[in-house]
């Protein structure tokens, strides 16, 4: 028997750690979506620079939407800070051992790349803006006319997207005191979850569009930009199938990474095995197996597979489920991770 009593009673620390509430999962979720969108957009920008038919792919345009999502995520992060007036301190220091410091600086690089990428499509999505500010149209034309710059922009999107996606996992991963997070698989897992959530959001945009011609309002134009290929016409069906196939691959990889995460934790120390039990059979089992694995991965995998085989009509249900699963994954990992701790040896 090992019985421990303590007189410590610090808020948010006792009886168990609870310093991070909804703000951090929201930030990790939105950051993950943006990371996924950047990778997808980056790949298509590289294809665009190569001279591929722009009608055959989507998501060159996601940066317009990504800027809004990332800002929302960073606002959630700001809300979480307990000493808000000193937030500027992050940008007068670079701490090489701190993932949070790396992430803050990566975010600072992400914004200009997103803005430049958004410029490429702005006159298509928001013609009113191009009319009001002719410089926008000129800058956009100038960018499109330079495949070398578009290619560089594409690679910048891919590299920063991968960095952002992995960072959201590594941020948790480096904390030795929280065994549930002590797996490097968390980085790739959050990246692939972000990729599938990014693809899901592009899918959702197809549902909220009011029809043709493509809408051009500030919000609807940005939404349309998520889905529309270059130009105003609707993408061909094969483009949609291509996105669905990519999402199937992301979800399948995510499932494998989750299996590896559990294997990694269960075959590690007693602390790690106990931490894995929190999500596999403990208080977060329902949210994990039901919300993350079944609703968030297995169901959309099956539904999208059937859609590709033309056995059921295309709906936005799989996309919605992927988004629910993506958020639940972050929520479960942040909450259960704080509950996990190093288990003391009881042998005597």
């Amino acid at each position: 028997m090992l019985e421990i009593t303590t007189t410590r009673h610090n808020p948010l620390v006792d009886p168990h750690l609870a310093v991070w509430s909804w703000e951090i999962p929201v930030y990790l979720f939105l950051g993950g979506i943006v990371a996924g969108m950047m990778v997808l957009a980056g790949i298509n920008l590289i294809r665009l620079a190569r001279g591929d038919d722009p009608k055959r792919f989507f998501s060159v345009q996601t940066p317009i939407f990504a800027i809004a999502l990332l800002s929302l995520g960073m606002f959630a992060l700001f809300l979480d800070l307990a000493h808000k007036l000193y937030v500027w301190r992050v940008y007068v220091a670079f701490e090489p051992t701190s993932p949070m410091s790396w992430g803050s600086w990566v975010l600072l690089l992400v914004y200009p790349v997103l803005a430049a990428s958004a410029l490429l499509r702005l006159p298509d999505s928001w013609p009113w803006l191009a009319r009001a500010v002719p410089a926008v149209a000129r800058a956009s034309d100038g960018l499109i006319a330079r495949p070398g710059v578009v290619r560089m922009l594409g690679w910048a999107n891919v590299v920063l997207g991968v960095a952002l996606g992995i960072y959201t996992g590594i941020l948790l991963n480096t904390m030795v005191a929280r065994p549930l997070w002590n797996s490097a698989i968390l980085g790739p897992l959050f990246l692939f979850s972000g990729l599938s959530a990014g693809a899901a959001l592009i899918h959702l945009a197809t549902a909220v569009l009011p029809g043709r011609p493509a809408p051009q309002g500030p919000v609807t134009g940005a939404l349309a930009a998520l889905w529309q290929p270059m130009g105003r016409e609707a993408p061909p069906r094969s483009t949609g199938d291509q996105l669905t196939r990519a999402d199937l691959a992301f979800l399948a990889i995510e499932l494998v990474l989750i299996a590896l995460l559990l294997a990694n934790l269960y075959t590690s120390t007693a602390s790690h095995a106990a931490a894995a039990s929190l999500i596999a059979s403990g208080p977060y089992a329902l949210a994990f197996w039901g919300g993350v694995v079944l609703l968030g991965i297995v169901a959309p995998l099956a539904l999208q597979g059937l859609e590709l085989g033309r056995r059921i009509p295309h709906t936005v249900l799989p996309a919605l489920l992927v988004l629910v699963g993506g958020f639940t994954l972050r929520w479960v990992m942040v909450r259960a991770g704080q509950l996990s701790h190093i288990v003391q040896a009881t042998a005597n």
């Binding site: 019985e3 808020p11 000193y86 937030v87 904390m175």
Partner: protein, 179 residues
Amino acid sequence: MPRFGMVIDTRKCVGCMDCVVACQTENDVPHGYCRDWITTEVRGEFPHLALEIRSERCNHCDNPPCVSCCPTGASHVEPVGMTVQVTSTKCIGCKACISACPYGARYVHPDGYVDKCTFCAHRTTEGRDPACVSVCPTHCMHFGDLDDPKSKVSELLRTRQWHTLLPEAGTRPRVFYLT
């Protein structure tokens, strides 16, 4: 440069909490919070039980995870005494250090910044003992330079059996418990 550490004799500690009260008074710790606390650990099966009472606090680790995760450098190792300190005007309150500490030694001060035991830096840099050590009625707590072989703490660690908390975390804590 000294490397401060603390040695606590669990065979003498009675868990009177004088150290806790002294800390709260000395450091004006806000009501409802604590920088140090008493942990009682009972092992074995009745009637064969072993009891250990410990006065616990920040371990001022040699390999502090709270420092390496801090994005602003607010959590840092002070050159004098190699103690772990928090500069409140650099802290953004992200709470990464609280999550990273395996000992639960940190908390968010009501003013927003993260706070914890300082080893009474304002006293120890003047050559005085931390408040908790100075009031201990059983003289079970010792403070000094671990790098000085002639110091009382070094001598105790050479001559007595001791353990640290969660050594498997790899933090190399500098609060030692004599057994």
